[in-house]
Amino acid sequence: MTRDSFSAVTGRAAAGRIAAGLASFLAILLFAMPSHAASCSGMPKQITFANWAAAETATAAEVTTSVAAFEKANPCIHVKMIAIPFADMVSQLTVMTIGNNTPDVMEFSSGMPQALAAEGALADLRPFVDKALTSDIQPSMLQDGEANGKLVALPLSLTPHGFWYNKGLMKKAGLNPADPPKTISVLTHDIELVKSKEPNVFPFAMMTSKGAYTVVVMWPWLLSARSGAGKKSHEAPRCSRQARDRGDHARPALVRAPPDRLDGLHVTQDPDRAVRRSRPAVAQDLGARRLS
């Protein structure tokens, strides 16, 4: 399990507003939907929520439903969504911060809280967050939301990562599609089997298009898995902050790694290029759906 998204709260809002917004927002997203609706005597207070999830096809419905439920449960608060593309999140929030127009709540991914905290855009959440909540979150995940000794972001969701596999290809290679690999050693064995029977097929593919994300999540997992680390499911291998800072240099080095380290997984060249030149056997999302 890897922490993928954060919510963070701006530093410009008043403390009460932050507390109300954050506590209620997290309550709705992290715990349970309240079953009863309250009423509001005055005009609802508006909080702005900058995110990319509400604009994307895959996540829009869930986020819109969650926010609608939140507003129903908290009729004194109206959430105004600000959709920003994922790739432009930091630059747009930086401009908004400079323009003294920082959103009240923001969705972040890895590294973003620290970038925005450096702009002075984020409030310390510790005074407003229930200890029961923080004690329920893995310490390493909380640490990723810290900047300059402040807790500026909290995990919004946990994103499990898994394999998509091609049943037709497995059948063709003499493997049982109903019993996919469950350990790295079996996976390695099956990959080698597929490769021996279908030399033109790349039996294993992983996302490499999002550089920083890949370095933080994918490559450490792959290397740890190969070296036998992270055997327990809750000990998902992670990159240290220092390693993340070195991320830009780490990936090419890994791609050029000697065959004895990665050869078992047939990642002997840049997977991006390999996939572009040939139809991938297993790919993320669209490719996997198309092939299955």
Partner: protein, 230 residues
């Protein structure tokens, strides 16, 4: 070549996205901005060409220098300004920003076009009873119409293809223009919907292709006139 030919992506763009809204917004903003840019650039170009202005060269250089600033530098300043005047999320902000972006180059182009129109024609019109405004509108403007079309097209296209200004100055879905609308809808954190993105791009290209087809003659004439003086 595609293995399967289908129009499903076009249907998705038209039926299941806010493309019509983005398209309408883009047309409103860019047509208005280009018309105002042409009007202002024509008047400024005419003034710089015909009137003795103290420090004319320095002013023209100053206008040119404005074109050299990276747009991101202007972006933050304009964002702060528009927020102060409560203009964010309005057509006004987008139109003003595109005029700001396109005007310096347009003034330079229009000055070149006016320079190319012999002043004697204008003087003859004034001898025949025209005021200066009449000579401008009845004699100079028709003569340099190709140049004005070229400037209008330049202003239109620079706004039509812009992402960063439109993305920054608008946050409401109802105010989005085509480029940010497409990025928000089809380019996700983990997935890019290439089919719909390409289908939308084709549809977005059609108006510009049509405009070029019909106005190509004017555009070539205008650009040539600006390049060759006398």
């Amino acid at each position: 070549m595609p293995r399967i030919w289908a129009l499903a992506a076009y249907r998705d763009v038209l039926a299941y996205s806010a493309f019509p809204t983005y398209f309408a917004n883009s047309v409103i903003v860019n047509v208005t901005a280009s018309l105002i840019t042409v009007l202002l650039a024509t008047l400024a170009g005419y003034s710089f060409s015909r009137f003795p202005i103290r420090g004319k060269s320095a002013l023209m250089l100053g206008i040119l220098a404005m074109q050299m600033f990276p747009s991101t530098v202007l972006l933050i300043a304009l964002y702060v300004l528009f927020r102060r005047f409560d203009l964010l999320n309005t057509y006004t902000a987008l139109i003003l920003s595109y005029i700001t972006h396109g005007l310096p180059f347009s003034v330079w182009m229009m000055r070149g076009f006016v320079d190319a129109v012999p002043i004697q024609i204008e003087e003859a019109a004034m001898i025949d009873g025209c005021r200066r405004s009449g000579a401008l509108s009845r004699v100079v403007v028709p003569t340099m119409l190709p140049g004005m079309v070229a400037v209008a097209l330049f202003a239109f296209l620079s706004g039509w293809n812009d992402l960063i200004w439109a993305l920054t100055l608008t946050t409401s879905p109802a105010m989005r223009l085509i480029p940010p609308g497409f990025v928000l809808t089809y380019v996700g954190q983990f997935e890019t919907y290439w089919n719909q993105l390409m289908a939308g791009s084709v549809m977005v290209s059609v108006p510009t292709i049509l405009v070029f087809m019909f106005l190509q003659r004017y555009l070539v004439q205008g650009l040539t006139a600006a390049a060759v003086k006398g």
